[in-house]
């Protein structure tokens, strides 16, 4: 048997041990490959993609690659960890450490090669599914048809073979330093508890408090400036939190025999403390990665809703038109009528002369007749206005947020009539019936007649379609957009929203994709952590089962053990995420509570489901082992 055969056989015979490592490597390849399928997709290559989105793609690809590197490295190191004793025995039997390094190198390359090939294979299938979903969920113009991604395959293959090569070399260096006696006892010896010091614990608390405090305190553009320092501070704080505070807490627990010696606690906590170092690192990684996922998705989702929110409310009409100077108003209006009719859509329409008057403030103020206003209100099915007195001041409730001084002025100034008298407005109303940027007056029809001559006149027309579907509305909007390509003085909100969605779609998609990848990766970190201890756990529970352990006690221990693993980092990540999204709210000065709650709640639910699934299988495995 040549040495190469030995290495090969070692992999094939120890299947179970290798499967977990293989799967997570394959997972990393699959993610990267799927992503590059999109990056190289013809639909994204046409050039209409905003260059920022292209850059985003590039950066995201880089992030995924770097992330894969650490992911594989991490998987590999826990894989090697669980094989240390085997190495020790091999060395004891006379294998030189050079041979062992060569063996792990060959093994790793073999696994890496297989993982790359199968990752690409499964990625093809996965991509097909994602493409289908993307097509459904996102507005992307060219249909995202499936194509044979030669470039993506090439890139992924080369990148990952390189990655496994580098990691394999890297790992042989790590192995160099191990002493035989340490290797042989490695499964019994704790990897050591991280040193917990009071000072570091306090620093952990301070850092987190400072990070949170800053993130919650800053507003507007400061949020952007504070971003990097806060991220650094919170990251360090989180690391210390898990390595220091958790150690401290468990130490306290272990010292207190009244708790530690109670029922199954001893089994639970002794293991926690035995694996503290590994756990602390995993918790830290998972918490940070999940935070990135939550924040990325929360930000995109929130930003999207920020863009969209109010657009439709502020522009409730299907199509609006406002004349510009020297325009054949009648012709333009009938052009729009025609466009609507061409799409086989019927619509109600109202047209009004908009008269602007000089009343002694810095802009000409619109004054409309009660009856005109009510025609439009009726078109929108809005409440009509019944003036109790001669006039009111109106502010458009969407267009001019924060422009209350103007309203205030109008309330004070009053409307000068031809006669020289003044009519005072008696109340303020807020609607978006007329699409007017500034505050304006509504007056009784008879008051309107007594006004002096207007300084500016335009025509405003609005259409409300009856029973038109989204597609027709977008088509109408597009034609209107093309027709008024000079001044863009007519438009349809449905089309605008469609256009925004279209530009935003790929970005949203990439963000979602990365977020989901990170979150799933966090999940597999946890899975890997749990399963690298499976053999230990089996042995442990077998031993205790011989002394007598009821099924309930077994379940209780496993339940708590798994719950701590799954929820400790996620709860921290959820808190981090909530703080990050609150900071985002302050940046936009826009309420994202609903969106944040949806994103964070969604992730929490997924994690809970994941916990139940993993717990079920883990319990089953252990139960089988002890029969």
């Amino acid at each position: 048997m040549t040495f190469r055969q030995f290495a090969l056989n070692n992999v094939l015979r120890n299947k179970r041990l290798y499967v977990a490592y293989f799967l997570s490597s394959m997972f990393a390849v699959m993610v990267f490959f799927t992503f590059s399928i999109f990056a190289f997709h013809p639909a994204f290559q046409t050039g209409d993609m905003p260059s920022s989105a292209m850059k985003g793609m590039l950066v995201s690809g880089g992030i995924i690659y770097v992330f894969s590197f650490f992911f594989v490295l991490y998987s590999m190191s826990s894989f090697l960890q669980s094989r240390k004793k085997e190495f020790g025995l091999l060395m004891l039997l006379g294998m030189s450490s050079r041979q062992i390094r060569r063996m792990t190198f060959l093994e790793n390359m073999l696994i890496g090669f297989l993982a790359t090939i199968s990752g690409i294979g499964i990625g093809l299938v996965f991509a097909k599914v994602i493409l289908l979903i993307a097509e459904k969920v996102l507005v992307i113009d060219e249909t995202l048809n499936f194509y044979f991604p030669l470039e993506a395959i090439g890139l992924s293959f080369i990148s990952f073979i390189l990655l496994f090569f580098v990691i394999s070399i890297f790992v042989t260096f790590i192995l160099r330093t191990n002493k035989l006696v340490d290797l042989i006892k490695s499964d019994k010896k704790s990897k050591g508890e991280p040193k917990a010091s009071i000072i570091l614990t306090i620093i952990a608390v301070l850092l987190l408090a400072a990070g949170y405090g800053t993130a919650l305190y800053v507003e507007g553009i400061q949020v952007v400036m504070a971003l990097i320092p806060v991220v650094i501070v919170v990251t360090i704080g989180t690391y210390l939190f898990f390595t220091q505070l958790s150690v401290y807490l468990i130490r306290r627990l272990k010292k207190n025999e009244h708790i530690f010696w109670k029922k199954t606690n001893m089994l639970l906590f002794s293991d926690l403390s035995f694996r503290m170092k590994d756990n602390a690192r995993t918790f830290f990684l998972v918490a940070i990665i999940s935070t990135v996922a939550f924040s990325a998705i929360g930000t995109l989702f929130g930003f999207h809703s920020y863009l969209m929110k109010g657009l439709k409310d502020a522009n409730p009409y299907s199509v609006v038109y406002e004349s510009v100077e020297d325009e054949d108003v009648q012709k333009q209006i009938s052009a729009i009528d025609q466009i609507i009719a061409d799409e086989n859509v019927t619509a109600n329409k109202e047209v009004v002369e908009m008269n602007y008057f000089e009343i002694g403030i810095d802009y000409p103020v619109l004054i409309v007749k009660e009856s005109d206003y009510n025609r439009f209100a009726k078109l929108l099915n809005e409440k009509e206005i019944k003036l109790k007195n001669k006039a009111v001041v109106v502010s458009d409730n969407q267009a001019n947020i924060g422009n209350f001084q103007n309203e205030q002025k109008l309330m004070e100034i009053g409307i000068p009539l031809k006669s020289g008298e003044k009519v005072q407005a008696y109340s303020e109303v807020s609607t978006s019936v007329l699409q007017e940027m500034n505050a304006y007056y509504i007056v009784r029809d008879e008051v309107f007649k007594q006004l002096p001559s207007a300084v500016k006149q335009t025509t405003f027309a609005a259409w409300m379609t009856k029973q038109a579907d989204e597609e027709q509305l977008v088509a109408i909007g597009e034609k209107v957009f093309d027709h008024f390509d000079e001044y863009h003085n007519a438009f349809s909100m449905d089309y605008t929203i469609y256009e925004i969605d279209k530009a935003y779609g790929p970005i949203l998609f990439i963000g979602l994709f990365i977020g989901i990848v990170f979150f799933v990766s966090a999940g597999s970190f946890l899975y890997f952590r749990l399963y690298s201890d499976l053999d230990d756990d089996k042995e442990k529970f077998q031993a205790i089962a011989k002394l007598g352990l009821t099924n309930n006690e077994l379940k209780k221990v496993i339940n708590r053990q798994t719950a701590i693993l799954f929820f400790a980092p996620i709860i921290v990540a959820l808190i981090h995420g909530a703080v990050a999204l609150t900071a985002l709210m302050h940046l936009f000065d826009y309420n994202l509570v609903k969106e944040s709650a949806m994103v964070l709640g969604g992730f929490a639910l997924i994690q809970i489901a994941y916990f139940f699934i993993v717990r079920y299988f883990y319990t089953k495995q252990i139960q089988q082992a002890i029969k």
């Binding site: 002394l547 007598g548 009821t550």
Partner: protein, 254 residues
């Protein structure tokens, strides 16, 4: 106390292996019984069946007239940790726990008071000479110390039936005598019934009676008379009849 009727055990597997054939035996309350036989003769198998850790292929085992194999899983678990005590051939200690924690583990599961557990652990550790290693972890103690820890864990809850698989396998003759004397002592003062597997004729001579097994079958049985010395000689004689050069067998087997 313990009655074994027509017990058979076949290990299924690629090649089925008959480890025990038609074993019949009876052990009275408070009796101290030794089991001897060559390596691979089925001693551990028999002990595991009595300990309800493994299922017999046929036949029955009655402990105080009841067959524990009929109990539900949970009841069986409780029964085991409250009524039985084991010393396993491979110690079966948990390496994530300290010596002391290993010893009190069966008691913690039953929710005993911490003070009570500590007292018991201290008393027994004192007797076995392991008080000074109570705070150590299992990889920091020697094989013989681990064996004594396993003995301590098996006895801390004063079981009715103590099953010991080579409890003196790793001990020098002085420590071995100490452990055996302690077992004898417990056997006498607490009326604990004991079943002891051993390769060591010296240790076996502390028993009231020794049963010999060969190839999964009962071979013979000898009783202790008045003198331990004479009994020891009888055991040596039977062992040489039995065929295995069995005396120098106590090596490490974990």
């Amino acid at each position: 106390m313990l009655q074994v009727n027509d017990l058979n055990k076949v290990y299924e597997g690629k090649v089925a292996y008959r480890a025990l054939t038609d074993i019949n035996m009876e052990v009275g309350k408070g009796e101290f019984v030794g089991i001897m036989g060559p390596s691979g003769s089925g001693k551990t198998t028999l002990l595991n069946l009595v300990a309800t850790i493994d299922q017999p292929t046929s036949g029955e085992i009655l402990i105080e007239g009841k067959d524990p194999h009929q109990l539900s899983k949970n009841k069986l678990a409780k029964f085991r940790r409250q009524q039985l005590g084991f010393v396993f051939q491979d110690f079966n200690l948990l390496h994530t726990l300290t010596v002391e924690e290993n010893i009190v583990l069966p008691l913690t599961l039953d929710g005993k008071k911490v003070k009570e557990m500590k007292e018991k652990a201290n008393v027994i550790a004192e007797k076995l000479g392991i008080s000074h290693i109570m705070k150590k972890r299992t990889f920091e103690i020697s094989g013989g110390q681990a064996q004594r820890v396993a003995v301590a864990r098996a006895m801390i809850h004063q079981p009715k039936l103590l099953l010991a698989d080579e409890p003196t396998g790793n001990l020098d003759s002085k420590s071995s005598r100490d452990v055996m004397e302690m077992l004898e002592n417990i056997n006498e003062t607490e009326e604990t019934t004991m079943l002891l597997v051993t390769h060591d004729a010296q240790a076996a001579s502390y028993c009231d009676r020794v049963i010999f097994i060969r190839d999964g079958q009962l071979y013979s049985e000898i009783h202790r008379g008045e003198s331990q010395k004479g009994f020891f000689q009888k055991i040596i004689d039977t062992l040489s009849l039995l065929g295995g050069n069995d005396n120098d067998f106590s090596s490490i087997r974990s």
